[in-house]
C-alpha cells in the first residue's frame, strides 16, 4: 500500500501557515481497480482480486550463510523454505522462492513482521520489508490460463505448473513473482506480486488481455 499525504488542517502559527498531514494508507491499485464486471458480458471467464493489507518480507542469505538461513527458516516456520521456484504454505504464511538463496514471507495480521523475523535470521540473512512495495493480484476463472498465456511465456499447464509452483519472471516487461496457490472452487488460482509503481500499468494490461473473456473485479483482505 502506498501512502498519500492529505492535509486535513492548517494551523496558523505566528503568522506562518503550517499544514499538518495525516497519512492515508491505500493500495497502489486504488485508482485503477473498479469493483464489478468488465469486458465481455455474461459469465466472467476471469476473476481478478487484489489482495490488500498483507505483510511481505524479503529474506536473502548472506554470502556463505544459506545453510544457516534455511535452518533459521525451519525453526521459525516449521517447514523448509523453498530452494527451487516453489511456494510453500505454512500454518500462517506462504514462503515464495524469489531467486537463489532468497525467498519472500507473505502473511497478514502482523504474524511475521520484519521486526519479529529479524532476530531469528540475525547473521544469516538480510531482511527487507516489502509490504508496501508490492501489489498482490489473485487471478482465477476458467479463462485465467488463456489470459495469462498472452502475457507470460511460462507454461502454466497443470501438468507443468502444479499447485505450489512458482516463477520469478516478467510480464509485459515488468518483473513479477508468480505462483499457483490452492485451487478455489475446483479452479486454479495464480497469484502475482508486482512492484507497486508498476502495478497500475500491469493491471491495465491484464484487463486488456482479459476483456474478451469477461472479467469480475474485486478486492479482498484475505490471503
Amino acid at each position: 500500500m502506498s501512502s498519500s499525504a492529505i492535509p486535513y488542517s492548517t494551523i496558523r502559527m505566528e503568522g506562518a501557515s503550517v499544514a499538518e498531514f495525516s497519512w492515508d494508507v491505500r493500495s497502489p491499485l486504488d485508482r485503477a481497480l473498479i469493483v464489478g464486471p468488465y469486458g465481455a458480458q455474461g459469465e466472467a471467464g476471469v476473476s481478478l482480486t487484489e489482495i490488500r493489507n498483507f505483510d511481505l518480507v524479503q529474506v536473502m542469505a548472506r554470502r556463505g550463510n544459506a545453510g544457516e538461513m534455511m535452518a533459521a527458516a525451519k525453526a521459525r516456520f516449521g517447514v523448509a523454505a523453498p530452494e527451487t521456484p516453489r511456494a510453500v504454505a505454512t500454518a500462517d504464511a506462504t514462503l515464495i522462492w524469489s531467486g537463489p538463496d532468497q525467498f519472500l514471507v507473505l502473511s497478514k495480521d502482523g504474524k511475521h513482521l520484519i521486526e519479529a523475523l529479524a532476530p531469528g535470521f540475525a547473521g544469516s540473512a538480510s531482511l527487507s520489508d516489502q509490504s508496501h512495495a508490492r501489489a498482490l493480484i489473485s487471478i482465477s476463472g476458467e479463462k485465467a490460463r488463456a489470459m495469462l498465456a498472452k502475457l507470460s511465456s511460462i507454461d502454466l499447464h497443470p501438468s507443468v505448473f502444479a499447485v505450489g509452483a512458482a516463477a520469478a519472471t516478467s510480464m509485459d516487461h515488468t518483473s513479477v513473482t508468480l505462483w499457483r496457490g490452492k485451487d478455489r472452487d475446483g479452479q486454479a488460482v495464480f497469484n502475482l506480486l508486482v512492484f507497486a509503481t508498476f502495478a497500475e500499468s500491469l493491471w491495465h494490461t491484464i484487463l486488456d488481455s482479459a476483456a474478451e473473456y469477461g472479467v469480475t473485479i474485486g478486492h479482498s483482505g484475505d490471503l
Partner: protein, 91 residues
C-alpha cells in the same frame, strides 16, 4: 533465442541482459597500465564459441556465465557466475 537459467529453467531472451565477454580478469593492482587498458578496453571479436556474462534481470536477478557460439547462437553451457546465489558460488 532462449537461455536455460540454472535457477529458473528455460526462459525467453527478453528476460536477460547481455554484458559481454566473461573472460577478462581484473589485473592485480601492480599489473601496470597496459594490463589495465587491456582489461577495460580491449575485446576479442570472437566468431565461434564464446564465454559471456548475461543477467537474468527479468527473472531471478542472478548473473550467469553462458557459453555461446556467436555464429549459430547455439548455447552449450549455462552456469551461475561467481557471486550469483550468495551462498553457493564464489563464496
Amino acid at each position: 533465442m532462449r537461455i536455460t537459467c540454472p535457477f529458473c529453467g528455460e526462459r525467453e531472451l527478453g528476460e536477460f541482459t547481455y554484458l559481454g565477454d566473461a573472460k577478462p580478469q581484473r589485473p592485480a593492482a601492480d599489473a601496470g597500465e597496459d594490463a589495465v587498458y587491456d582489461y577495460v578496453y580491449l575485446r576479442d571479436n570472437i566468431a565461434g564459441v564464446m564465454s559471456e556474462h548475461w543477467y537474468h534481470g527479468g527473472g531471478c536477478r542472478a548473473w550467469l556465465k553462458v557459453t555461446r557460439n556467436t555464429l549459430t547462437h547455439e548455447i552449450s553451457a549455462v552456469e551461475a557466475a561467481a557471486g550469483a546465489g550468495a551462498a553457493k558460488v564464489g563464496a
